[in-house]
């Protein structure tokens, strides 16, 4: 049976926005965290994103779809942020980081905590757009075409950026594999 939900008249957009925002904060926060790797910056990014969403809200006729739109806004916020001169620690395209040296402190190498640290470290070394491509493709699970649209670049760029990003992560994580095997 097809149930048609009757929406209340959109008399209170501000209220609808608040419902959306409180529901989406966790999701957007996680996306922001994967993009930037920093809890506090993630909070700032979500806040900027929500401000922009609030301003755009009257023009959204389909609030149900607002999350997808908010993700793109968040991505722009992050890419703009990543472009700022003081974010110099970001690796640039073509610079693939070292595979983390697992022998440095074997005590730290055990278990999921290590995988997490390695992943976070490897993500942190990806250039922003590579990182965005990887997160959108493999965490949000957007298609190549959707990712290209969100990143405003060609599909080929998405493919190469995510392939390279993924390769870096894979190389980093393969280090953790070997360590796990050695420690067994």
């Amino acid at each position: 049976m097809c149930v048609r939900t009757v929406k209340p008249p959109n008399t209170d957009g501000a209220d609808a926005f608040r419902r959306f925002a409180s529901g989406a904060t966790t999701q957007l926060g996680r996306l922001a965290y994967l993009l930037c790797g920093d809890r506090h910056l993630a909070e700032d990014l979500v806040q900027s994103c929500l401000i922009k969403m609030y301003l755009a809200w009257p023009r959204l006729t389909e609030p149900d779809a607002a999350l997808g739109y908010a993700r793109r806004v968040l991505l722009r916020c992050w890419l703009n942020e990543a472009r700022r001169p003081w974010r110099r620690s970001e690796a640039r395209d073509g610079v693939v980081p070292d595979v983390p040296d697992g022998t440095a402190d074997p005590a730290l190498d055990a278990g999921a905590g290590h995988v997490r640290a390695v992943l976070l470290g490897a993500l942190g070394q990806l250039p922003p757009r590579q990182r965005a491509a990887v997160v959108l493709r493999y965490w949000v699970q957007l298609s190549v075409a959707e990712t290209a649209a969100a990143m405003r670049c060609s599909e080929g760029t998405v493919k190469s950026q995510s392939a390279r990003g993924l390769a870096t992560l894979r190389a980093a994580l393969s280090g953790t594999d070997q360590i796990t095997e050695l420690s067994q």
Binding site: T25, Y54, L55, T61, A112, Y138, T147, A148, L173
Partner: protein, 446 residues
């Protein structure tokens, strides 16, 4: 568990560990109201000197205007450009290259985005007969990356599918797939021919690369040669300082014994940068990379105009990405940076000069520059709503430049300059973007 699922689950675990965020919605609303006031002031003041990034809500206010859905992108005679709709492509396709033989015999190639996951592209070949574009070639799995012609009966299209390289030939009557020495297929392998340079009907170069995704990520550049009968793999020298390999993007010939191929070197512990190979009639040799300055260069396209050799691409510095033009001085590249994000197209202006095009920085229209020998100057006008150029090519013997690109990528979001009362089509969460490729031409003489 495969590597990919392992990474997916590791990402999910990382995301899940984030404690609940403290976002104060009252503060969000207050700040939004404050910014709205400021933005209105800025918009009035900034009519001529807009720095896109400094405007709040940039995405909403500065993206290109949206036309009602269903209308063809009929932008005829827009700012000097004659825009030629390619209705056969629908709204989910990309055009990657264009090859005019004459003004009424133009080929363009690319791919359809065929499925929701984007894994299943299908090849596109379309032909312009002087009046309209028509579908003109097979639609098979894969993507065409380049097309080039020596005559109306000798046209090559190259690209890649997931498991092999593609090379198709047009003899004036039909497109025929020619077998290429594709690398041995394997899990995670993909290969593509990204550029083609036909010198004569029995002397054609195609270049690209093979990615291996197993174990340590590697990309191996490929060069293949057509001798009139078959394609053969041609040995390339080892690329120094390329721990993760390299990929060739484009090839151009000054003569049968003077061929340039350019691409990207993928760094490992060292920086990536430009890859240039030269064919002297006997073997390919590596041209030393550009080392001056701090930023590596990544050329996307190489062209020959008369005796000049140029490559265009981008350069990444620590903080910015800039469009780059490299001029060959006989022994190495002389780089120039231009004010744009990247360049992917370059061609002759028909009169000894060069035009280059790509993507502008920010949300502005595409980048298009002209040099009559010296400095590159930006074009004053670009067609409305054009977001980026993917390729350029001149009709031989004329000053007419053909271009393909994207006018806009429309993912159903409300965009700029929405007049009050205008209805905005609904957006759906998992909607595929509408990508309407653009093709058009302009006479540089005016």
């Amino acid at each position: 568990m495969t590597d990919e699922t392992r990474i997916v689950s590791a990402l999910a675990a990382l995301a899940d560990e984030l404690p609940p965020l403290q976002v104060d919605l009252d503060q969000v609303v207050r700040q939004a109201h404050r910014r709205r006031g400021r933005r209105q002031a800025v918009l009035v003041a900034a009519a001529s000197t807009v720095v896109a990034g400094s405007l709040v809500a940039t995405m909403i206010t500065l993206t290109a205007g949206r036309e009602p859905p269903g209308q063809p992108p009929a932008l005829a005679n827009d700012a000097g450009w004659s825009v030629t709709p390619v209705p056969v492509l629908g709204n989910r396709a990309s055009l990657n290259a264009v090859a005019p033989v004459t003004q009424s015999d133009v080929w363009a190639v690319g791919s359809f985005f065929n499925d929701d996951r984007g894994h299943d592209n299908k090849t596109v070949i379309v032909h312009w007969d002087g009046q309209r574009w028509s579908p003109a070639g097979p639609t098979n799995p894969g993507t065409f990356m380049d097309v080039a012609a020596t005559s109306s009966t000798d046209v090559w299209a190259v690209g890649g599918a997931t498991d092999r390289t593609l090379a198709l030939h047009w003899d004036g009557r039909a497109w025929t797939a020619t077998p290429t020495p594709s690398p041995t297929p394997g899990p995670g392998l993909s290969s593509s021919l990204n550029g083609v340079a036909p010198i004569a009907s029995d002397d054609v170069w195609a270049v690209g690369c093979q990615f291996s995704a197993g174990g340590l990520y590697q990309s191996t550049p490929l060069a293949q040669h057509w001798d009139g009968q078959r394609w053969a793999e041609v040995e390339l020298p080892p690329i120094p300082d390329a721990p993760q390999g390299a990929c060739l993007q484009s090839v151009a010939a000054r003569g049968p014994k003077d061929v340039f191929a350019v691409g990207h070197i993928y760094g490992g512990n060292v920086k990536g940068g430009d890859l240039t190979l030269h064919w002297d009639g006997t073997r390919w040799s590596v041209i030393p990379r550009l080392t001056g300055g701090t930023a590596p260069y990544y050329p996307n396209k190489v062209i020959v105009v008369g005796e000049q050799v140029l490559a265009v691409g981008q350069s990444y510095s620590l903080t910015t990405t800039s469009a780059a033009v490299l001029r060959w001085d006989g022994s190495g590249w002389q780089p120039t940076l231009l004010d744009a994000l990247q360049l992917s197209g370059a061609t002759s202006d028909g009169d000894g000069g060069v035009v280059v095009a790509g993507q502008a920085a920010g949300t502005g229209p595409g980048a298009f520059f002209h040099s009559t020998g010296g400095e590159f100057r930006p074009a004053e006008k670009l067609p409305n709503g054009l977001a980026s150029f993917t390729a350029l090519a001149t009709v031989p013997g004329t000053d007419i430049v053909w271009a393909v690109g994207f006018p806009r990528i429309d993912y159903g979001q409300p965009a700029a300059r929405i007049s009050p009362g205008q209805t905005i089509p609904p957006i759906t969460t998992r909607q595929l973007p509408t990508v309407i490729p653009w093709a058009g031409f302009m006479s540089l003489g005016g």
